[in-house]
Symmetry: C2
Subunit: 356 residues, 2 copies
DNA sequence: CAAGCCTCCGAAACCGCTTTCGGATTTTTG
DNA sequence: CAAAAATCCGAAAGCGGTTTCGGAGGCTTG
């Protein structure tokens, strides 16, 4: 357990065999007698031999490594998903002793050239892309480079590559339907810029549910802001300033929902009583918000493992379009959803607001 | 922008030069005429040549890669720190085009053998270790392997290796002093098992402040539980069940503090009024707890960059013990700290509790 | 007992890049 | 203008593995 690493050469000399023979013994070639195979393996164990990976991979012509691009814009609160995803990816890759390379780019240009470099320099044999735009240049690039990849999320056209996504459209339909079931009819959507496909998906679900229930989509009730708690807060304030404010709000994410709660409380209103709020993500932290956040929960840890498995399968030659998985989110009721306030209650609200 | 990667050989043939010449031209060797150097570089750009990293690193005898071990036990809520650390590390390493390898082990045994393998197989030239135990076997191992490493945190004896840590002892002194300044005298400590050095450090600070103010350390007021929000909740319930419960609580982490708030609210008490709570970490989501959490804040993003810089310096040959950085945490007052309730108020509390 | 067949290992080549060394050409020098 | 010095590039070797190929030796056959 010390100094210089043990090379095949040293091991071979030690065994009085040649390097290729030792290599084949360790790799269970059939043309090596069981006797010497065991002898070699025992010696390798004793000396603590570890094949040099750079040499091995150069020879094999593979990197046995997969890259993960950290999302550039991620609110400080929503980051848990990164750690969990990495953990799941690591598990999937670990089964084959593959490595996981993590990179973070400053700008979109940097990101593209980083990808190009990583792939063409043979550092990675596959990539995991998070949170794609509607029309994501990274996907085009990967296709041009003919390098395997999987996407965590979907783009506008998602036929011909592999992805794992949670059905945001479906989720927002159920959350809106849930609020309508509670008697609400003025329901708002708090979201982020539509360049990200997942925002569009969720907005679609919102609109689908509104229309599906015979209501009409009111553009005033669709507030786009920053993808952060502060963004949610600003958007919600705008909603509350409306002449005819909403009684229910569905938020793009738990993080934005936290901001919504803050805005509602700031007005002296009570989330879940005066105004209902539903988030999206199912982050554990939501149990500690004020009040605990009702949300659309999804199995986060699962995503990493599935993405890893899918990517390995594709690298093995599978058709990417065969690997497309849509997960459903489930309503997790905590305390920010409630029945539509009665007229009496509404008057109370109005008077309370006037006091401010 | 297509198919097979461009090798030096192809590039050389294209230029009617030999491989070594092209290599030296690209690496700015002085024995290559400026004319051909430029010619080579231009061609390399045009063809999109990228040196094969496995080959390059094999030849160079270095991996140009640093490993990060994801902490095994980390509460789902506290994970943001991982993403931020990775981001900072990536930044530091990116300046030299080094790679960041992330691994996650199931058990402690797995972790040790993983480290051993990573280092001896030449996959990494350095390691970042998070959240060390008091006496961490990983550190012993790395020292035995003579492989550069930096520790995010400290062990019991921290003289002879590199680390970056936040002064938990100092932080808990100031938080306890803060509560004492507000009139509190029965102050509790909610923590996790002492096998982790950072727990011990913070407990030391707590005790130091208690004693320093002429109070005596009451073992009943030191509650050890799981390092999670649930753990904090359980511990706090135990404290509130005491005959003479505390009026102030300092918590090992923001996550545990959230649990403490939940326990306090569950008793019908108001955190910050009836009982003060101070967390530790300064996580952003603390602004959204009920009520917003007072905490000891620290610059998280900074840690990753510093750790990366330190590690690179050590790999370059610097003496590890020269790289030891202690950061101070700062009190971030939000709404869970308040003056000691008056006697009248205390009676109210008691009667409220009896109602339950 | 010779021919033929396995068994098992060594020799050689290669993966793509880097570095040392030597020598051909050009330039400087006396 | 010959000799010495400087300039620039090619040849060769090496990094540490893997894989293909061939052949020596021991077995089985007829």
């Amino acid at each position: 357990m010390t100094g210089k690493p043990i090379s095949l050469k040293i091991l071979a000399a030690h065994l009085d065999l040649t390097v290729p023979t030792v290599s084949r013994a360790l790799n269970n070639y059939p043309d090596i007698s069981p006797a010497t195979r065991d002898r070699v393996k025992r010696a390798a164990d004793e000396l603590g031999y570890r094949a040099n990976q750079n040499a091995r991979r150069l020879s094999l012509g593979t990197s046995e490594t997969v890259g993960y691009l950290m999302p550039r814009f991620s609110s400080a609160i929503a980051q848990p998903f990164v750690a969990q995803l990495l953990q799941g990816l690591g598990e999937a890759l670990g089964k084959r002793n593959w490595d996981l390379l993590v990179t973070h780019a400053e700008s979109s240009k940097d990101e593209l050239s980083q990808i190009e470099r990583m792939v063409r320099s043979g550092r990675v044999s596959g990539l995991v892309i998070s949170r794609p735009l509607k029309n994501d240049p990274r996907i085009r690039l990967m296709q041009d480079l003919k390098c395997p990849f999987v996407v965590h999320g979907r783009t506008a056209s998602y036929k011909n590559y592999a992805w794992y996504d949670v059905d945001g459209e479906d989720a927002f339909e159920t959350s809106v339907n849930h609020l309508i079931g509670l008697g609400h009819s003025r329901i708002a959507f708090v979201g982020a810029p539509l360049q990200y496909q997942f925002v569009q998906d969720r907005l679609n679900g919102y609109q689908k549910a509104i229309v599906g229930n015979g209501l009409t989509v009111d553009q005033d009730l669709i507030q786009i802001s920053d993808f952060s708690d502060d963004g949610g807060e600003i958007a919600t304030h705008a909603l509350l300033d409306l002449v005819d404010p909403p009684t229910g709000i569905v938020c793009l994410s738990d993080t934005m929902a936290l901001g919504a709660l803050a805005a509602i409380r700031a007005r002296g209103l009570v989330p879940g009583e005066d105004i209902s709020v539903v988030g999206y993500d199912g982050l554990k932290f939501g149990t500690h918000s004020n009040p605990p956040l009702t949300t659309m929960a999804q199995p986060q840890a699962h995503a990493g493992r599935r993405l890893g498995d899918m990517l390995l399968a594709i690298i093995d030659g599978d058709d990417p379009s065969k690997h497309q998985e849509l997960q459903r989110a489930q309503l997790l009721r905590r305390n920010t959803d409630g029945p539509l306030p009665t007229t009496q209650a509404l008057n109370d609200i109005l008077s309370r607001e006037e006091l401010q």
